[in-house]
Symmetry: C2
Subunit: 449 residues, 2 copies
């Protein structure tokens, strides 16, 4: 697309991609780093996989909704695809290096994935997933309990608005389906249930009726799905309605979810940050046990901001070894967009510098470099305005970037080994003070505000 | 590629891609974070651009060697390319958001780029570039001096073996070409000179002769290119041989390089970490002033590990605004491979955990979770072995991962609110000590070793 008036190409990006200005990128990166730090504090190990994989490997599972969205490319006679999630690459990685990994294998991976779906507001074709998974031959339910502990730490450290981690167990749903004799349509039911929050109870009701369920069954099912809160109370309602002991899935599911709930207290998660909720189902059919969704209490319309669950036989397309896993995923690109939309992200930090050093004249640049070196030795990120410009322009530059301090150095400062420090927020100026005093002033704030 | 004995797909990746085991990934990530921290300490602002861009935008410059290596894909009727460097996306970004950016615009960008070149040892089709650039309408040479200061800080913090930042100025080379009347073949000469370190003096000599230069000129040229060390001495040799005052380029180039060298001392860079070297040329024809290469003194065969320079009119394909820039790039994927090869990277840290908490029995898991919470509150990353296994297997897991400490909790510890702490490196064990003492012991080491 050439510009009509000149021979220039109009600078633009393809639709469906998020690109941020530096201030927002700083906020985004700080979220990434917090998530990474929490994942590491739980001992998860980092991996990164190539953005493109061999088509026959990545699409081994084949079919499905995802298939149509995959970005494909060829190089020579090699068919390649861009990764569309981090779970398939994980399965491939674990299968490929199984002999060099220690199990339980606890890995985190924070990379962008690619889906060529129709671009719409808040849906991106390139987006970060921040995943953790624990993989082992024989994974105890205690691992399922660890996931909400990680989610809680992440969202607390991210200072998100009030959130609730909703926990369910696929076995409970399956047990209910079995006892109600509706197993034959269970996959369809899960898909419909998954839309409960989005399309509302009435729509779900009518969709369930079209599956051939009678009105009584639909009502009973929706009663169960509306259960949330104390697992003891939920257990007794199910027991009274269906008789839980007669069904293995139901027994196991209720037992597992109790174990998970008991552990959450040990991890120190406040009672109001989690809840058993039989209404969450996760559409994906590969979950087999515990499932999670996390929502912001005051913004239900955003939907789940961190989901996951327990699954069996992760590597079945690549190896005979039967490995189980449990994991969660944060879709950070979409979350960032949503948090911006509701005003929950402050971009008041729009620079990495805490100080702009403004040499009065080009002759003062060498001295400015020495001052910068001293600041950096004291862990103060700073930059020097190195171009020819009036002092007022240098101040304006600092102020536009939201940098809190300007240090001016001129003849007088240079000859006396001092600096003039100005706090742009208060206007307060300390003229010709020793460098060490300036450093102490700036660092005092870092430690006390 | 199906496995012959079963219906499994052989797990593998395409050739030319680097994929690391977690221990190496930890080392790699720590390098990434050090580079990022140094870039930010100089006030560079982060940006990230989409992995794919519109073909007409990304290839606006057109032609060239790069063009053949570009990964192309189509989605609907949109032609897209994967980014092959970070400079073209920077030019597009700056042009697109010019009104929302503050100039001088100082940005860093650390992302992977894609080149479908023939895969060979140490050359990758997907590799990280870690770039900084300063962009402005009227960029003083002082900005050129800042780049070696950043390179020095990065490589010092990365604890690389002895390195030298070699500095040259394209104007000096151009001035010499002008005075020697060989401007007509200057591009070819630069390409040949760029291979000096790789193919040796003799091969360069014979290639220069085929350009039509006579033997005397080739010798004189190679004399100049072999000059390195004090800029004063270099200046006087050039002056005596060619008479520098008669050429504007030569005058300006020598003046600029002197300014750069004078600044390096102010930045506190030790004298033995930089050198003027007229022999470095950088093949790329867009450099117009200062150029940099960085080499490891004891491993010249590795070539430059950080290069860059000054260029004009960054955005000419997208806008009429004439912006100048200066920048450097670290090709981290290749550098990591090289450092591994020469044994300069220690992968002794192969886990993110400092402690594996081993519950004696499954009944002790809840207490283990409380202990883990205490450790994490004291900034000690740790994990719990949550599966059923003998204690010996739990110890083996910790030891395989290189985790220094194991904490065992059983009946006795649980009832007395204590832990048993074992240092796997020394074998020293402290039985049933208070949690606080265990924390103090582990943290003492962090602060004192």
């Amino acid at each position: 697309m050439k510009n009509q008036k000149s021979d220039k190409v109009t600078p633009r990006i393809a639709s469906g991609f998020m690109e941020l200005l530096p201030g927002d990128q700083i906020a985004f990166n700080s979220m990434l780093r917090i998530i990474q730090d929490v994942y590491e504090s739980f001992g998860f190990l980092p991996i990164e996989t190539p953005v493109m994989e061999l088509a026959d490997v990545l699409l081994a599972k084949g079919g499905g909704e995802t298939d149509k969205q995959v970005y494909r490319l060829t190089k020579g006679d090699t068919n390649l695809c861009l990764r569309f999630d981090l779970t398939v690459p994980l399965a491939r990685y674990v299968s490929q290096y199984a002999n060099q990994l220690s199990f339980p294998f606890r890995r985190y991976q924070m990379q962008r994935v690619y889906r060529g779906e129709g671009a719409q507001k808040g849906r991106y074709r390139e987006f970060y997933q921040c995943d953790i998974d624990t993989i082992s031959d024989n994974l105890s339910v205690s691992n399922d309990a660890e996931m909400p502990a990680v989610i809680y730490e992440v969202f607390k450290k991210l200072q998100l608005p009030d959130f609730t981690i909703k926990i369910n167990n696929r076995k409970i749903l399956n047990g209910i389906f079995e006892l109600m004799n509706i197993v034959n349509v269970s996959k369809d039911i899960l898909t419909i249930i998954d839309k409960l929050e989005k399309i509302g109870r009435e729509a779900v009701e009518s969709q369930l009726l079209t599956l051939g369920l009678d009105y009584k069954k639909v009502n009973l099912l929706l009663l169960f799905l509306s259960l949330s809160g104390s697992i003891g109370a939920i257990d007794s309602i199910i027991d009274q309605s269906l008789g839980r002991d007669s069904n293995v899935n139901l027994c196991n599911g209720l037992e597992e979810i109790k174990q998970v709930i008991n552990s959450l207290e040990a991890y120190g998660i406040p009672r109001n940050n989690y809840r058993v909720d039989l209404g969450i189902a996760r559409g994906l059919d590969y979950y087999t046990g515990t499932i999670y969704e996390t929502t912001l209490n005051d913004y239900p319309e955003i939907g789940s901001i961190c989901s996951g669950g327990r699954y069996d036989d992760l590597c079945k397309f690549y190896t005979d070894r039967n490995l189980q896993g449990v994991g969660i995923s944060i879709g950070l690109t979409r979350l960032f967009y949503q948090l911006k939309t509701i005003g929950a992200i402050s971009s008041n930090k729009t620079s990495t510098s805490r100080v702009v050093i403004a040499p009065f004249d080009y002759k003062d640049r060498i001295y400015a470099m020495q001052v910068a070196k001293s600041l950096r030795s004291s862990e103060i990120p700073c930059e020097i305005y190195l171009d020819d410009a009036k002092l007022s322009k240098k101040f304006k530059y600092a102020s536009n970037l939201g940098v809190p301090y300007v240090i001016v150095v001129g003849d007088s400062e240079r000859s006396k080994n001092t600096v003039t420090l100005k706090d742009l927020r208060t206007g307060e100026q300390k003229s010709e003070i020793p460098i060490d005093l300036a450093i102490a002033t700036i660092n005092w704030e870092k430690n006390h505000r």
